[in-house]
Subunit: 214 residues, 2 copies
């Protein structure tokens, strides 16, 4: 039966994710899984985060993309270790892909590993790879109806960064409805309204990461 | 008007897609698969298209969503046959899901069946269900780098509707680069710059559909 096959794949993934998690714990590395639709602002958030944290913490990045290494190139000037995973068609990262990429990183003396997942509001939410937290980023341009229509990513995330709030004056975006729906789906979700373009609201995000690292 | 909800178990099945195609051909129905990220504007485009074509053609709609029937409710006032498929977690429609939903539609005397796929820039491109053409809609807010990073949907689509062009003044969107990249990925792709909000550019789209129906 098809459902059984899917379940087995997820179980196999969870086993590898647990092994990764043990390794990260042993090395004292906090691992963040950054998820969201294409164009939501994952790489922009990463740039802002690296600008802020680079001098205080030892950071490495894993970039997940179906093809190209454009995102990795965008952050290459930060001069930190970066591994690019090209999934070759797969719409999410999984435990095995991340496991395979760890050989390219020196895990000793690392504080923070940020993994930018493949741009997709659906599938990445189903596959853990051993991370400590999942953060999702959603652009206001995607619409205020997303928590109810795509609930899983909202459910599994610790933080939701609502990005591009500088565009709200030009959109029909009902912030109250959005926040109410997001919290209905996940009452523990921390929602931060930000603009990676103007910098608005990012201090809350930096504070949150520092808190997780501490 | 009552919206029919059909729940399906995912079962990738190209054979069923071919059977669907035979059935559509036999009934003389032109079938369009509308794909794009969450929030790209699929339902808005559908609304505009129904406004324009409803009096001239017999149209039915299949709405694909992971959960909810919100999109179906948005177009219920058009008083045309609508079937809602809830994929129950699956990130795309496939031949079997569409096949299962056809029992809810009267296929005789139908000119056009528009299928709004699950919001996702990746997976829907991999699964046909017997459609004549695939049209993708991408919002300028998703960024000008998408053709190279998510090439498959661009490759399999006949038409690309670049939506929300009214927001370009507030974004860093390089139209020349975008068009060049999209055509590099698919030299036959017909690109139409539109705004479902203002109506800009939609006549080209209506003309294209009329041409396919003729």
């Amino acid at each position: 039966m098809e459902i059984k096959v899917v379940r087995n794949i997820l179980e196999a993934n969870d086993r590898i994710a647990a092994q990764n998690r043990d390794l990260f714990t042993e090395k004292g590395i906090y691992v963040l899984n950054l998820m969201g639709s294409p164009g939501a602002g994952k790489t922009s958030l990463l740039e802002r985060t690296l600008e802020h944290l680079k001098k205080r913490r030892k950071i490495a990045v894993i970039e997940g993309d179906i093809e190209t290494s454009r995102d990795a190139e965008r952050i290459a000037h930060f001069n930190i270790p970066i591994v690019q995973i090209n999934t070759g068609g797969a719409c999410h990262l999984d435990g095995n892909m991340v496991r395979g990429s760890l050989a390219e990183l020196s895990l000793d003396h690392l504080d923070l590993l940020i993994v930018e997942n493949v741009g997709n509001l659906v599938c990445p939410a189903e596959f853990q790879f051993g991370e400590n937290d999942r953060a999702m980023i959603l652009s206001v341009t995607e619409g205020d109806d997303k928590p109810m229509k795509y609930p899983l990513m909202f459910q599994v995330s610790s933080v939701l960064l609502l990005n591009k709030v500088d565009l709200i004056p030009y959109l029909d975006f009902d912030m109250e409805r959005f926040q109410a729906d997001a919290l209905k789906v996940n009452p523990k979700l921390q929602i931060m309204a930000v603009s990676c373009k103007t910098g608005e609201g990012l201090n809350a995000w930096f504070g949150w990461i520092e808190g997780q690292l501490a």
